[in-house]
């Protein structure tokens, strides 16, 4: 075991870890002041819940054995392999489990942006646990654990399908099932603390270096390559979002910059270790207009209330990333991609990427419906009362005010 590789994957694990608090601030800054605690808490509780589930069964169900190409088995229940010697996964199975754990934390956390400001906290906790079981572990298995999506030859470097499309699609379905916020469309939903939005976005970018470059599994040339494509796509998307802002209103916004960089990171995620650097500029530059168009034109027509645009950013951005991987991947960069992308003349990979996206969407939709059904069965009402919604979920669900001193006393 090369200690350099261990150093990098340990570091990457810590970097991916900090993304979840980052997300909490990104989301928390975007909601109303009376809901920031609830929004942050929705991510934070998963730092506990998803970690423990992962150690107990998640890693095993994702990466131990294979049942029908769909899910793993329970042989590694409680990380029941020898953590000091097992090297089924590189650089070492236990380290791989730690790194992958961080993905299993942030993915359900991403969903929580969609249902912000109205879902019961207890139902949310219950839902995300079930969803991890029904959707996340199978998908992680199918893509990275030797399951079906790997078998058909589709590729996903760091989680375009597993993390972003899955959470984005789930967000959409859940937002529809849950219904709109009171006064949606009438009331003003503006971010209450924009510096927090940027703080979160910056921590996400920072952590994403571990997310993508760590997915190389070693401190090697591929990791360096993924580092550079990641930064480049984020940068290009940040700029193209600001350009749209400027063209539309003359005023480039910080929320726009933050959103742009995030969708740039989303889009490059499946592609980071497969595509040439120049294509990262294209991938990033295009993801912002695609998401912007979806959020500002398509979404209002469809009329659902995805509060923080999880589907518009992660779903749409992730789908574009998966397609872009099919367009720009090069076998010479990473031979895990068995074929070159469409722009290099071969349609094989491209079609399998489309197929993989389709399957991911199907798994997410079906899994979400099942999880939602179960949660509804077992809890009386998955949504807070109208009165609690007005009062704010911080007080009603958590009994806390985020900044009580700011209009009271010290």
């Amino acid at each position: 075991m090369d200690h350099g590789d261990v150093a990098w994957i340990l570091t990457s694990s810590a970097l991916v870890f900090i993304m979840t608090p980052g997300l909490a601030f990104f989301y928390g800054g975007l909601v109303k002041r009376k809901n920031i605690i609830n929004t942050i808490m929705s991510s934070v509780v998963l730092m506990g819940l998803a970690s423990i589930l992962w150690v107990l069964i998640g890693f095993s169900l994702s990466f131990s054995g294979d049942i029908g190409g769909v899910v793993g088995n329970l042989d590694w229940f409680g990380l029941g392999f020898d953590g000091f010697t097992d090297a089924t996964f590189a650089p070492n199975t236990l380290l791989f489990a730690a790194f992958q754990m961080m993905f299993a934390i942030i993915t359900p956390a991403l969903i929580t942006g969609a249902i912000a400001e109205r879902m019961k906290f207890s139902s949310l906790v219950f839902f995300t646990a079930l969803w991890s079981l029904i959707v996340y572990y199978p998908l992680a298995h199918m893509v990275w654990g030797g399951g079906y999506l790997a078998a058909i030859g589709s590729v996903d470097f760091a989680g375009g399908n597993v993390v972003h499309i899955s959470s984005g699609v789930t967000a959409l379905v859940l937002a529809i099932l849950l219904g709109k916020r009171k006064n949606y469309g009438k009331a003003t939903y503006h971010p209450h603390n924009i510096p927090f939005v940027l703080l979160g976005a910056a921590l996400l970018w920072f952590g994403w270096f571990g997310f993508n470059a760590g997915s190389a599994g070693a401190a090697n040339e591929l990791a360096v390559h993924a580092f550079m494509t990641t930064n480049t796509s984020a940068a290009a998307a940040l700029l193209s979002w600001l350009l749209i802002d400027t063209l539309k209103t003359g005023k480039p916004t910080l929320v726009g910059a933050s959103t742009g960089l995030v969708v740039g990171l989303v889009a490059i995620t499946p592609a980071a270790g497969f595509v040439p650097i120049w294509s990262a500029i294209i991938i990033g530059a295009l993801v912002s207009p695609i998401c912007y168009f979806f959020i500002s034109v398509v979404k209002p027509k469809l009329g659902y209330d995805d509060a923080l645009d999880v589907f518009g950013c992660h779903g749409i951005g992730g789908i574009w990333g998966g397609i872009a991987t099919g367009l720009f991947a090069q076998n010479s960069i990473n031979e895990v991609a068995q074929w070159d992308g469409l722009v290099f003349g071969s349609a094989t990979l491209f079609l399998r990427q489309i197929a993989a996206i389709g399957i991911t969407i199907a798994v997410a939709v079906v899994g979400t419906l099942i999880a939602f059904g179960i949660v509804t069965l077992f809890t009386k009402g998955i949504r807070v009362s109208k009165k609690d919604e007005e009062l704010g979920l911080d007080i009603s669900e958590h009994g806390e005010a985020a900044y009580p001193a700011f209009n009271g006393m010290d």
Binding site: N183, I395, G399, A401, P404, N407, G408, M409
Partner: protein, 117 residues
């Protein structure tokens, strides 16, 4: 000159503000000010449990609305606020009414009732 304007000060639940605003727009009032305050009344403060220890919030977060209107509008406006803010539970708030001695619209330098028309 007899000035026939009144100032209405309403202390209400923050969560009612959106609705009050919509109702008041009906009367084409052309001005209103709001501020965040802390209040206490018959509705007592809430308790927060910090690490197992109760801490009191003696004061609750409220919104204060200030509205200067013509005498003849007072009852309508007061009724609207009551209608929208009433829940029947402690903490619904209070409205106080005061005489106004004079008014000035800075933009036009109009004085008296013209300033708020």
């Amino acid at each position: 000159m007899v000035i026939s304007m009144k100032k209405i000060e309403a202390y209400i639940r923050p969560e009612r503000l959106e609705d009050i605003k919509i109702v008041l727009e009906k009367y084409r009032l052309n001005g209103m000010s709001i501020m965040q305050i802390m209040g206490f009344g018959n509705q007592k403060g809430w308790k927060e449990i910090v690490r197992g220890t109760e801490v009191d919030y003696n004061f609750l977060q409220k919104i204060k609305i200030e509205l200067v209107v013509l005498d003849e509008q007072v009852e309508q406006v007061v009724d609207s606020i009551v209608e929208t803010s009433h829940t029947g539970e402690y903490g619904d708030g209070k409205i106080f009414i005061y005489d106004v001695a004079d008014a000035v619209r800075i933009r036009t330098r109009e004085r008296g009732e013209d300033a708020i028309k």
